[in-house]
């Protein structure tokens, strides 16, 4: 993971093919770490690391089921993506506002 990546950025979370594969698998329903590891060419500790990052990004939820922990997609995942886009727009609009509010309209000829 890049140290400059902001924690909880859903786009960074999905920038990794293994994490995208996990999200796609969870699209078919909740699974445990071992279920996921069995379906992927990576180890259980690696799956756990990826899940932690997906959780931080608000894309995945963890629920205890007896002694097992089941991971599933967060219904608000799309909302998280939209929140991120809102932040991006805010960055652009913030600069726009600064310029618009601190310049004067051209004088009519």
């Amino acid at each position: 993971m890049s140290p400059s990546a902001p924690a909880g950025d859903p786009f960074d979370a999905l920038g990794d093919p293994n994490r995208r594969a996990i999200v796609e698998l969870l699209g078919g329903g909740g699974r445990s770490v071992s279920d996921l590891a069995d379906a992927l060419p990576i180890s259980r500790p690696a799956v756990s690391r990826h899940l932690r990052l997906l959780k931080q990004a608000g894309l995945v939820l963890e629920e205890p089921h007896g002694t097992r922990r089941i991971y599933q997609l967060h219904d608000q995942g799309v909302a998280a993506v939209q929140a991120y886009l809102t932040a991006v727009w805010g960055d652009a609009v913030g600069r726009f506002t600064l310029l618009a509010e601190n310049t004067t309209p051209a004088e009519p000829p």
């Binding site: 999905l14 969870l26 699209g27 939209q82 960055d91 726009f96 004067t104």
Partner: protein, 150 residues
């Protein structure tokens, strides 16, 4: 259909001026680094007419299309397609409305629609198949000129 992204901003300037700055001075305020090329010397150009291109021009002169103006009603409304160097078939649509509130104030409403067009898996969105959207997110990233600069 995927819910449009709706944003509203209050501005301390008249709407006419806001429209002018948005359209003719986009090269001055568009955040550096929010470009397809990543070239810090990129210039952003918006051709102020219906059918006009929105594009970036890198320092080597190479141009990358971002979209096309689809609504041109100065100084109140502007619409354009938005794909930022990706397949135009995957363009989202942005509509900007500048509302004058008098006393030197205005409001900017932004509505971005057409998310379902992002990627061949679009219909999966509508069916709320959560597995489908993961494949689309990289397109969002490009479509929204991510990464965040600064």
């Amino acid at each position: 259909m995927i819910e449009p992204l709706r944003l509203t901003y209050q501005l301390r300037c008249p709407a006419d001026h806001a429209f002018e700055v948005w359209t003719t001075r986009i090269g001055a305020w568009w955040p550096k680094g929010h470009s397809a090329s990543g070239d810090p010397g990129t210039v952003v150009v918006l051709e102020t007419r219906l059918g006009g291109r929105i594009f970036e021009r890198a320092t080597d002169g190479a141009e990358i299309d971002w979209g096309v103006v689809t609504q041109w009603s100065p100084p109140r409304r502007l619409g354009y397609t938005w794909h930022i160097g990706r397949d135009p078939m995957q363009a989202t649509e942005v509509e900007l409305t500048f509302v004058d509130l008098g006393e030197g104030r205005s409001r900017l409403d932004i509505v971005q629609t057409g998310w379902e067009r992002l990627g061949a898996d679009g219909p999966m969105w509508r069916e709320a198949n959560h597995g489908g959207w993961a494949a689309l997110v990289p397109s969002f990233r490009a479509a929204a000129t991510i990464p965040l600069a600064d």
